[in-house]
Each structure stands twice: as structure tokens, then as C-alpha cells.
Symmetry: C2
């Protein structure tokens, strides 16, 4: 039996245990936005890492959700850091799930449940790889660290401060970020950066009491006032209209532009297939759509509410209305500056009565694509899977890479178990079991290659 | 003891019974929008009328909420018809009430509860007047009829059909409409017309599933699409932007214009005091604000919702968003035509994917101010209260007068027990007990004068 075959055999033997570990983790509804199950999830994760042989430190920082740090000894002095998070998105709309969101379900080769893809499943692929190598070799080929936060889904508000306070504990030579997806032609997208975010909650409050809507002849209700204000945030082609919004947008480098050109059009087609939109923003198509996905700032109303929202009619002029709005940012946009610009924009237009709360602010970040770790990771995934890897200079999504990468001076790439229908943040979030297994083996291979450098 | 003093003494003796009747009626949460307590309320109303000596017919019409009709014999052949409704608005926002909405509370001279002002309290003033006259005189000075529907708060969708089917049963010489209010200087506003309404529910549905909001770079979410569409309905001065919306607006007659000039500015100041808006629509002031309140069509977002509306942040691109929008109409606007114009407007702008449901459609109506019954009613109220009456050519609100007045060929005026802080449709809806008593006596006086004509 080859070394690889021995390892594979162990991974397969360990798989039922790993899935049972995942089931227990998914059963903890660690929804950071709703402050549920946080401490319980952190303790469960700490216990798993300890059981795998790690030295675990639970980092408490003011009122922040605990951050779980772990360190595993290794034969080489080189240190590989894994970033993960134990918090998940809310399960709503709950009635659109076909399985209970917090009860891991296996169906048709899929693992279904909230957080399976984002990112509890990935965390377990990493632990499974460590368990397999340790079992087979009696030790790890390189030093491994983990940093696992509990506020990723609410904008990692305290993560930067925790990393700054514990930079020495987390010091490493390279970092593997949370998850990565296979596209519909099975190519894994290795992601080397992410967008930033400025997530705002707006409240229009125009009066003391709700009024009978007949008084709509005299005064404006809060929902219409909010509608008029939000209308000025973005045009129908998707261009953000907040003054100065594009001033700091950095031109992609030649390497980044080339990398995006190599990204298959499927990343756009997958969205079309899932969502079936009538049109894409700005009527873009082909390579322009791909560029827009990765390089364009966005503005999305994630939620809006005000007045009577139940069955039938109520003729009311509501005094208050709310919206949650997220801006995705690209280098070198500054989320705090965006919040200030939105405030100023509202004030200039006379919407001084609309209040604004910053719920999350994260900077964008991209790893230099010429870093040797990018090349190594690409080779490892290609060797391990036999398939071409797509190197993406950035995710269209957000993560707190900026809180970690510049401070620890590490290149950061994403390797993970997702696929194009993982439906992170949506009902019926899932991983394919075959991808889960493949990812465990891929990560084990990365540990060997990284230690052998 | 004068005849008037005898009547007053009886009204006062009967008051505890009347308030107990009101308590029982308020306790039935007859929220038409939520299909609660409807039949129970209709039966309770029928029982009250029967007990007062009326011949009651409960009119069933297809799936409509029952309409309670009643007739009381009288000495003169002249017939006075009272219009009321036993349905009420929803109680929400429930947590803004300081009393239980469906449990009549007496506090500081007030009667508090959902439906007390609109319009269960008024119904009981009318019944109390009949009971008092009958007790004192052994009979009524004129014939009295009632028509009490159960769908007023959801747009009286079937009322017109019921009136048409039972026009003979309801035939009368004049009609007293549901409620009327005292302003903050205690003048009762006698209302001779009402606006119409077109109440629409819009649904923007732009995709099959909610997506991660990172895809906001490629596709538009439903809330932003709805915001862009709603923005085109009305400008920030309150002008409705649906093409053709003002084409059918009839110029007020000289009498209507004069009557509105006599309406005190307090009707506007009361709104300012209660709501404390930063500004009035169109920056109007003084008599222009009063004219705008009574003669201007409106467009109000009564409710809006979509996406994540709970605590904290969820980075989601919602596939669906909804709004409830009411248009208040003036003669001769046609609610069905308004609905068609909104549909066409959306289509022309490319919002063919936004669906539209008509939840209510009522025509506006105004009684000719030169009708003798308008003069008689004004005299009766002035004689009865010793205070000046304000004759209003129209309410700023809506009622189904158009379903009744042109068919039965009756003048329609509003006389009632409300006051400027009654907060119909809002939390802590109330009547003052002193107004309640005053209204019973006023209605008794009207019955005498009407019968003596």
C-alpha cells in the first residue's frame, strides 16, 4: 500500500466519526446575528481541536465572541495557519428549507444544513486531515495553527483587534482561508483576496405616532421617505451614486486582470441558472460580467421593512421604516469612509432625519498573485485532484483577510470543500460528500508539500 | 322637568348599560383584514338592535361578511338611515398600546380600545338615542334604518353589491354616516363626502432563490427594484407621478371651496401636534394646507417588506419584496382606472416583473352642500351643543358613500362622537366619555327634528 493509499484508507475509516462531529457542530445554531449558541459552538470547536492533539487557547476580548486559537507541533519549522469561523448565517426564510436547518441531513450524496458549506464543513476537513496524517505518520510534516472566530457573519467586528493583541500566537508563514468552491465543470476556484463591506442600517422616523393614511395629503410617511432616499444610492445599471464612491478604487494589476480572464464564464452562468434573473446589472455579458463580479463595488438592500406587513389592507401612514444596506468594496475603498460619505450624501439631500448605524465595516484585501505560496497551493490542488485550478485574485464576497494578512505578513489563499450549488447564506445550504472527502486529502497533501519546502 | 331634561336623565341612567354593551363589542376582535371575529360581531350587533326594538335582517351575499340591516317604526313616514360598520383595523403595533386593545378601558374620562372611535362607539350612541327616546316617548319620531357592514376597513369590497341587491329594504330620505370628530377647539366637523381609494399590493420577484449578497455585483435584488419602481409613483412634494392621475380631478364647486375656507386651520395644526412632522408635503401652510388635505389625491406606502428584517446583519440578496400602497382619490377619479394606470406605468418603465393586486377600490363621493338635510343637520348639532359646526364638503378619508348615496338618492352627512385625538387606526384609539354622551343627545335631537319636518 502506498503512503497515499494508506492515508486515503484512514480518511475513509475516520469519515463516519468526522460526519458525526459535523452533525454535532451543525446542531448548535451559532447564529451570531441573533446571539445564539456562540459559546457552545466555541467550546465544541475547542474540544475537537484538543482531541486532535492541538494546544488550544480560547481568546476572550472584551465583549467579543470568543476566538479559538490552536497550535499543532510539526516536523518542519514552517507554520501553516488555517482561518475558519464557527458562526453561521440565520436560517431564515426557514420555510424554504426542505430539511431542518440545524439537523445535518445526508441526501443524494449531499450534506445539508446551515453552516455546512460556510464554514463548519471546511473546519472539519482540516481537522480530519490532521487526524489522518497523525494516525498514519505519528506526527505532522509542518506546524499547523488555527484561528477560528465567531463573528464572521456579522462583519468580524472584533477580529482585527484580537489578531493585533495575539499576533505572536498567530504568527505563521502562510494562511489558508475558509472555503472555496468547485464550479459546475468541477474546477476548484482558489481565492486570493476578498472584497470589503460597509453594512448599514437606516431608520427613517418622520413622526411620533402612526397616522391614518388619509393624512398622506399633508405629511410624508416613513416608507416613502426611505424609498426616495434609497433610490439615490444606486442607479438601475448598478452604479453606486454616493459621491466619491469610486475615487479610491484601485486599477487591477496586469496579473489580476489576466487571472480574471482565465476564470470561466460559468461563474456568471451559475448565477443565471440558480436565480434566473431577467437581466444582469448593466446588461453585461461574458468576460465583462466576470470582471464586474470580481472588480465592481456593489450596493444591495438586504432587508427593508416598515408599516403594515400582514395579510390584507391597513390604511396607515407609518412613522418609521428601516433598511439594511450592504456595500461590497474593492481595494482601496475604506468602509469607514463609505459610511461617512453616505451620511454626508443623505445630509446634502436633506435626509438629515434618516439615522444610520454601521453594523459592519471590513476592508478589502488581495494577496499578491506572484507570491510562491499561491503557486504551491495551485500545484497541490492540481496534483491532488488531477483537475485544473482557477486562481481568483479575489472573492466577490467578504472576509476579514485585511485584519490578518497585512499584520502577520502572510499570503492568504482559499482552499475548501464547496461547490457551485452550496447555497451559502440561503436555504438548503450543502456540500457534496465526495467533495468533502476530496478536500481532506487535498489539505493533507498541502501539509506534506508545505512542510517539505 | 322639561322633555329634554327627562331625556337627558334617561340617557344618563342608561349609560352604564351602553358602556357594558360597548365593552362586549370591543372584546370581539372583528379585524376584517385578518378574518377574525366577524360573524360573532355581526350577531352581537344584530342582538343589540333587536333588543332596542328593531326588525333585523342579516344580509348574506356570496362570501361577503354579513351586513346587518335593521328598521325601527316611527311616527312620521320619513326615514333616516344610519350607516355603521362592525369591523375594525388590526391592533398592530400592539406594543405601542398602553391598554389591551380589545378590552375597553376607562381612564381619565376616556374610553380606550380598538374600534371605540371607528366605529363601534358611534353605533352605540345611535342605539342609545333610540333606547332613550323609546323609553321616554314610547316610540320614535321618524322611521330609523341601519345598515352595518363588516368590510369597511378592507375597502367595503362587497357593500355596493349588497346595497344594490337590497335597495328597497334600505330606502330612506337621508343618511347619517359613521363618525365625525370634534377639533381641538371643540367644534364638530360634519362631513358631507369622502375620498375614494385604490389600495394595491405590489410584489417584486426577481429570482428563484435568495442569494448571497456578493452577487449584488451581477443581479439586482427585489427590494432595490421595488424602491426604484415606487420612487416613480410620487415626488417629494407629494405630486402623484402616474401619468393621467389628475385628468379626472373635478374642480371643487364654489360652495365646496367656501366651506373649506371656513374649516379652521386647526385640522392641520392637530396633525402637526400629534405627528410633529419636519415639514408638510409641498411646504404648504395655512389655508393651502387645508385645501390640500381635503381636495388633493394622495399616495402612501402603508407597508413595505423584503429580505432580512431581524436583529443584526444578514448579507442576503432577497428574491422577493412587497409593498402596500394606497391612493386616496377625489371626484371624479376612478379607482379601477387608477389600478390600470399604475399597471401601465410599471409596464412602460419596464417593471413588467412587478405584480400588482387590487386589495380595495372605492369611488369618491360628495353630497351637494345645498341639500336641505345638510342645513338641518348643521342646525341640530349647533342647537344641541351650543357650538358652531364646521361643514366639511368631504372627509380626507374614505368610506363607501358612493356605494349607497347615488343609488338610494340620499344626502349623506357624518355626525359622531370622535375628537381630534381619537387616533383611529393607531394605538390607544379613544373617545371622550363626555363626547359620547353629547352625541347620544345630539342624535336624539336630530331624530325629533327630522320627524317633525
Amino acid at each position: 500500500m502506498t503512503a497515499r493509499a494508506t492515508l486515503e484508507a484512514h480518511v475513509d475509516r475516520d469519515l463516519p466519526t468526522t460526519l458525526e462531529d459535523l452533525r454535532r457542530l451543525v446542531a448548535i445554531p451559532s447564529v451570531a446575528a441573533q446571539r445564539r449558541g456562540i459559546r457552545e459552538a466555541a467550546e465544541a470547536v475547542a474540544a475537537l481541536l484538543r482531541a486532535a492533539g492541538g494546544a488550544v487557547t480560547v481568546l476572550e476580548h472584551g465583549g467579543a465572541n470568543p476566538v479559538v486559537a490552536a497550535e499543532f507541533a510539526g516536523r518542519s519549522a514552517k507554520t501553516l495557519l488555517f482561518y475558519d469561523h464557527y458562526d453561521v448565517q440565520p436560517a431564515d426564510p426557514v420555510d424554504e428549507w426542505t430539511v431542518p436547518p440545524f439537523d445535518l441531513t445526508q441526501r443524494d450524496g449531499l450534506l445539508l444544513g446551515r453552516g455546512v458549506a460556510d464554514n463548519k464543513g471546511d473546519l472539519l476537513t482540516r481537522i480530519a486531515a490532521i487526524r489522518a496524517i497523525t494516525a498514519v505518520d505519528g506526527g505532522l510534516p509542518c506546524r499547523i495553527k488555527f484561528v477560528i472566530e465567531g463573528e464572521e457573519e456579522i462583519g468580524s467586528v472584533n477580529f482585527g483587534a484580537v489578531v493585533r493583541a495575539h499576533a505572536k500566537l498567530l504568527a505563521a508563514d502562510a494562511c489558508v482561508w475558509e472555503y472555496a468552491e468547485r464550479d459546475s465543470t468541477e474546477r476548484l476556484h482558489m481565492v486570493c483576496g476578498c472584497k470589503g463591506i460597509c453594512y448599514l442600517e437606516l431608520e427613517a422616523c418622520v413622526g411620533h405616532v402612526d397616522l391614518h393614511s388619509m393624512f398622506g395629503a399633508l405629511v410624508e410617511g416613513a416608507p416613502f421617505r426611505l424609498v426616495h432616499a434609497l433610490h439615490t444610492f444606486k442607479d438601475e445599471r448598478g452604479t453606486v451614486l454616493i459621491p466619491g464612491h469610486y475615487d479610491r478604487v484601485r486599477r487591477p494589476t496586469a496579473e489580476e486582470t489576466e487571472a480574471v480572464q482565465r476564470i470561466p464564464l460559468d461563474v456568471v452562468e451559475d448565477v443565471r441558472r440558480q436565480f434566473e434573473p431577467a437581466r444582469l446589472l448593466g446588461e453585461v455579458d461574458g468576460p465583462n460580467a466576470v470582471r464586474q463580479l470580481f472588480f465592481a463595488p456593489t450596493c444591495t438592500i438586504c432587508g427593508i421593512w416598515g408599516g403594515y406587513t400582514q395579510e390584507g389592507q391597513k390604511t396607515v401612514l407609518p412613522r418609521a421604516a428601516h433598511a439594511k444596506v450592504d456595500f461590497r468594496l474593492v481595494p482601496d475603498q475604506d468602509p469607514h469612509e463609505v459610511a461617512r460619505s453616505v451620511r454626508k450624501h443623505l445630509d446634502v439631500l436633506g435626509y438629515t432625519d434618516i439615522s444610520l448605524t454601521v453594523l459592519a465595516a471590513e476592508f478589502p484585501w488581495r494577496t499578491d498573485l506572484s507570491d510562491p505560496f499561491v503557486r504551491l497551493s495551485q500545484e497541490v490542488v492540481e496534483e491532488s485532484t488531477g483537475r485544473t485550478v482557477i486562481v481568483s485574485p479575489t472573492s466577490a464576497g467578504t472576509g476579514p483577510r485585511h485584519d490578518l494578512a497585512p499584520l502577520l505578513k502572510v499570503p492568504v489563499v482559499s482552499i475548501g470543500a464547496g461547490y457551485w450549488k452550496s447555497r451559502s447564506h440561503a436555504p438548503d445550504e450543502s456540500l457534496r460528500l465526495s467533495d468533502f472527502r476530496e478536500t481532506v486529502l487535498m489539505l493533507a497533501h498541502l501539509m506534506y508539500r508545505f512542510g517539505a519546502q
